[in-house]
Structure formats: C-alpha cells, structure tokens
C-alpha cells in the first residue's frame, strides 16, 4: 500500500499504475480526460499511475477503479488486476474487515473425505449399538418375573401348575364326574354340565395317577369337594414344623409349632393361605386328597402359597 521507491525498474514496469499510464499515453489521452470519464478526481488517477493506492483503503474499490480504468483503455482487466494482486495480495480483496470470520478450510484431497466417511460410519455404528441395547433391554423388561402377593414365584412353576390353580370349583367337578367317574366322587359330584374345552385336558387322568404324578390334576378333585362341604385340612408332621394357615376371613385356623409325629386338622372357608416350615416333612391333605407341597417349597424349605383360590 506504500510507494516503493526502492523497487527495481523491471518490477515497476509490471505494476498496474505503470501499465495503465503507458497505455493511456499511447492512446494520447490526458489524465483529466480519464478522470472525467471515470468520475474520479484527477489526483487519484495520478496517484494510481504512480502506483500509490493508499488513498483508497478498501480493496474492493481499489480493484474496481483499476478495472474500470483498464476497461476504458480497452485493456485486459485480468492483467491489471493480477499486477495489483502481486503487489497487495488477495487477502484483503473481498472480506469485511470489521469482525473476524470463522471459516472452514476447503476439504480437498482424499484424507478429508475419508475422515468424513469414517466419522459418519462411526456415528451410525454408535446409533446402531444404542438401538440394539435398547431392544435387548426392552425384551428383558418383558421377561421380568412377576411375583404374586404371597411371594410365590409363579413363573418358576411348571406351566400346568399355574393353570390348574385358576379353574373354578364348579367346572372341574362336572367334567371329572362325567368323563371318569370314580366311586368316591360319584356320591358327591352331580352330573350336570357338559365338559368345557379347558377342563377336558385334566379329565382323562384318574385320581390315582394324579395323586402320584401330576399335582395339577390332584388339586382338581380336591376342588370338587369344596363346593359341597366345608373343606377340611389335615396335616401330619414327620418332623417339627412351624405352620400358619389362615382362611378367607383372615382367621388363623392353625398356627404355631407342630411337633414331630403329630397330626392337625382344621376347617375353614377357602381360599387358605398357608405358610409351612420344614415343608418336605409335612403331608397336607385337603378333604382327604394329598396336596403336593414340593412346587411351592422354596430353597429354605418353607412352602408359602394360597390353596383353593
């Protein structure tokens, strides 16, 4: 932006002002004529021709005047602008100077592109992993064991066990009575209703088989008596055991420590809530039918369940 008195003559010849002045003189135009045509002050044109541009601080205007001057003389604008750029550089050419502007360097060549692709793939990978984890969590949430109010883990039981506790006492006696009548049941179970699909599964099994093998069917005949008479619980203890049985009204029908070799009997209205300690050495019968305690017995040998619900 300053005059370069010490510039070698060769360089001065290639300066924009020198080039313009030479062309103007060749065409026989005066500085005043040029200034009038460009609507610039003659002193400014004179300064330009002496390569002094400090009166025009803003690059956009400076370059604009030079291009207008070149066009007026029918010169190639690019030559003059290039000469100007060689002198001043292009840095201040077209950027507002007041505030620094944050710019992103153009990404050229392979590494930048590759980096961008890697970044995108990584982001997608993170999203995929997050989505996968969410899915796993969601599925595990669905499988969380439900705990009944009496503390028995129903999911830990065999499927048939949990199903057979649900049937109502009315439906089961009808089917058992109809399909496989036994001498014991015939006098108690009325032959009335036809079998329902749900109870047909339990029907073919005989009471003998039920007693020994399948606890679900054994509870079915037990339920048949519940409809007709007051249910009676009978317990025999091979070893000492602490027992508490409450009936539907919440009344304790049996409570306390039972000594080995004793038996206990109780009556009440079902359902019974039972807590039996040392359960593996206790035999429980409901209306004469043995109730299998093993499925209800937890690791500490305590059976806690609701009977005849």
């Amino acid at each position: 932006m300053t005059e370069r008195h010490d510039t070698p003559i060769q360089d001065t010849l290639h300066m924009p002002g020198t080039l313009l002045k030479a062309e103007r003189e060749r065409q026989g135009l005066s500085v005043d004529t040029v200034a009038r045509k460009l609507n610039l002050k003659p002193s400014l044109v004179d300064d330009f021709e002496r390569n002094q541009f400090d009166k025009v601080q803003i690059a956009a205007y400076r370059r604009g005047y030079l291009r207008s001057y070149a066009r007026l003389l029918h010169m190639d604008e690019a030559i003059i602008v290039d000469a100007h750029d060689r002198q001043f550089g292009r840095e201040d050419a077209s950027t507002p100077r007041a505030a620094p502007i944050q710019t992103i360097k153009p990404r050229s060549g392979r590494p930048g592109r590759l980096g961008r692709i890697v970044f995108r793939l990584f982001t997608l990978l993170v999203i995929a992993v997050l989505a996968g984890l969410t899915l796993v969590w969601w599925q595990s949430r669905d499988n969380t064991p439900d705990v009944t109010d009496d503390g028995v883990d129903t999911t830990a039981l065999p499927a048939s066990e949990s199903i057979t506790q649900i049937p109502t006492p009315i439906e089961i006696p009808d089917t058992t009575a109809q399909v496989s009548p036994t001498p014991e049941q015939q006098d108690t179970a009325p032959t009335t209703e036809p079998a329902t699909p749900a109870t047909e599964e339990t029907a073919p099994s005989t009471p003998e088989v039920a007693d020994s093998a399948t606890p679900d069917t054994s509870s079915a005949p037990v339920a048949t008596d519940a409809d007709t008479a007051v249910p009676t619980l009978a317990m025999s203890f091979a070893q000492d055991s602490w027992v508490r049985i409450t009936d539907s009204s919440g009344k304790n029908v049996i409570s306390g420590l039972q000594t080995a070799g004793t038996t206990a009997q109780a009556e009440g209205t079902p359902p019974f809530r039972l807590t039996i300690g040392n359960a593996s050495h206790v035999t429980l019968r409901l209306n004469g039918e043995q109730v299998n305690l093993a499925p209800h017995t937890r690791s500490n040998n305590v059976a806690k369940f609701t009977l005849n619900q």
Binding site: L38, N39, A60, S68, A93, P96, I101, Q102, R107
Partner: protein, 345 residues
C-alpha cells in the same frame, strides 16, 4: 431430534433464490450450484410430477409438448408458485448433498428482495423449510450483495450497491451493517428480454422466444452508445406471413429497445441518491456505487450510470455470484453472532 442428527450430515447453505438463476454457496466449498430457476412439470391426468429442474428444464422452455410445462416459479424476486419452488429447492439441496446417504437437513440462509412483504418472506422461509432445511435465515439481497462485493458494510461509512437481478433491481445504501435506505424496482434481466421481444415484434413484425431474446441481450446488448457496433442474425416467426424469417439486429437497435427499462433503473438510482442522508451521500460521492447481479454484465451499463449520476461506478468482481457469496459469508458470521445482518421475517 432426527433433524439435528441429519444436520450432522449436511452442510450449511446460502441460497440466492433468484428469478432467473438459483445459486447455492456451500460453507467451506464455495459456489457449487448455478442453475436457472426453471422447473418442467409433467401432467398426466390429475397427477403432476417434476420432469426436469434447472438447466435441463430451461432447455425445454418454449419447446415443450402438451403434457409438459416449463415454468419459472419465481417472479419479480418472489415466489409465484409455492409448491414448485419447494420442489425445486428440494432438488437443488439434494443435488449439493449428493454424497450423503441420509436426507440432508442443512441450515439455510436465503436472500430476499429488500422490498418484499412479510407474506412473501414467510413464503420463502416456509418453502425452504418444506424443502428440508433445519433452520432458515433470511438476508436482504443488497446486504448480501455488498458483503459479496467486499464492501465495508460494518463500518460507519456509506456504501451504495445496485443489484440488477433477473426480476428486480435492488438499490441500497448500507452503513454499520444495516440498510439505511433501499429501493426496489421490478425491472431486471427479464424486463430487458421482454423489451427486446416487443421491439423485434414492432420493428420486424416477427415473434422471437424468450431464449432468443436472452441470447440477443447477452451477445450484443448494450446500455451506452459508445463502442463498436455489433450485429447478430436472428430467426423468428413472421407474424404477417406466418413463416420463420431471418433478420439482422445491431447493438444500437437493442440499446433503443432497452431504453425504457434502463431509464427505470437510472431513475431509481437517482431517487436513492436524493433520499440518502448527507453524510452518507458524501461517502458515496467520494467512492461511487457498486454494481452486482447479472444485469451488471450488460455492456456499458456502468458508463450509463456514471454519466447519469456523475459518480464513479464499479462493477463488482464476478457480479453474478455476489449475492450467494455474500450470503455464504453472512452464514459464517452467524456463528459470530452477527445477527444484525439478517433480515427479520
């Protein structure tokens, strides 16, 4: 949330949504798209679909069969057909994001004419949002043009910019990052073309198309009688005979044809100078005015304005892209909280 994620894969854009051309400046990459604002619509029954956009569609202008219509969705610098503008923008935004595999959702800065109404601005904003923009900023065209031309917009000095676009000519006096006075006339490149078409019809009894008129303007159009006389051979349909005829036009005839729209621009510039505050008028008298936009490429338009106003007139470097480049710089300055540059809705 999803838009933000898509934003990670998108570049910030500055869009000069012009009547004639749409330019897109991508942050960090420069001008990446410069295509005519033309959309070709194919009509099949009640279904309308986009047949072509940009350069391909412009080639169809005036040459389409019955079921295809090539339209320019922008008129006088504002949206004339909302849906088509949205589709055009969507096409352009996707085009500049070709390499990504997610739908882009960039931050977009769109230039609007300074005299556009609130409704027109809102239409532009919603159209850009509809095209997938995550966030839309608006900037007045002369402000963007001034930034693009490298004028000191943030200083306490008056700068005058005349942006001659396709549909409008925007004149503004800018100081301290604000528009002190602005004037907009609905005269631009399109009006030049229309003037040439009507001149040819009047003087040669022949009808020429939009594209031919534009070619005449670009090749021999001139705004000042000095300089060499140029000629062009043109073919048009003779109205009386009904057959195509060839004839020759020269630059003086075109200058004659362009007188009316040129005088409208000169009048608007003079009016802006009359309205400018004295201090700023002094700055402008000292430095002159800067021409940007496609209209600045009309031969000797700077001489015309210099003669008419008595001020130095400069044509900005690469005047066609000034607005888009300026918008791009403004977009970069948004992160520096230079919000005063932006236009309100």
């Amino acid at each position: 949330m999803f838009k933000r994620l898509r934003g990670l894969f998108s570049s910030d854009l500055s869009i000069d949504l012009g009547t004639a051309n749409t330019l897109i400046y991508v942050r960090g990459r420069g001008i990446v798209l410069d295509e005519p604002s033309v959309v070709a619509i194919r009509q099949s029954g009640n279904m309308r679909s986009v047949a072509a956009v940009g350069l391909d569609a412009k080639r169809m202008l005036g040459r389409t069969p019955g079921n295809i219509t090539a339209i320019r969705p922008m008129k006088d610098g504002v949206i004339a057909d909302f849906t088509v503008t949205e589709q055009m923008l969507q096409h352009f935004i996707r085009k500049v994001h070709q390499s990504t595999f997610l739908t882009p959702s960039p931050r977009v800065l769109v230039c609007v004419p300074c005299m556009s109404t609130q409704v027109e601005r809102r239409a532009i904003k919603e159209s850009a949002e509809g095209a997938g923009a995550r966030e839309v900023f608006l900037i007045e065209e002369p402000m963007a043009a001034a930034i693009g031309a490298g004028l000191p917009v943030e200083e306490a000095q008056g700068s005058m910019v005349v942006d001659i676009g396709g549909g409008t000519t925007e004149i503004a006096i800018i100081s301290l990052s604000g528009v002190v006075y602005s004037e907009s006339v609905r005269v631009g490149g399109d009006r030049f073309d229309e003037a040439i078409t009507s001149y040819v019809r009047r003087h040669y009894g022949s009808l020429i198309g939009e594209a031919t008129a534009e070619r005449i303007k670009e090749e021999i159009g001139s705004a000042w009688p000095e300089g060499e006389l140029l000629e062009i051979d043109v073919r048009g349909r003779n109205l009386a005979e009904g057959v195509p005829r060839s004839f020759t036009l020269n630059s003086h005839e075109i200058l004659d044809a362009l007188q009316e729209p040129l005088m409208s621009i000169v009048a608007a510039v003079k009016s802006a100078l009359e309205q400018s505050p004295p201090e700023l008028a002094s700055d402008i008298a000292d430095r002159g005015l800067v021409l940007t936009g496609g209209g600045a490429l009309l031969r000797d338009i700077d001489k015309l304005l210099a003669e008419e106003t008595g001020l130095p007139v400069i044509i900005a470097e690469d005047p066609l892209t000034c607005v888009a480049r300026g918008g791009g710089k403004a977009l970069e300055m948004i992160d520096q909280h230079a919000f005063e540059l932006l236009a309100s809705d």
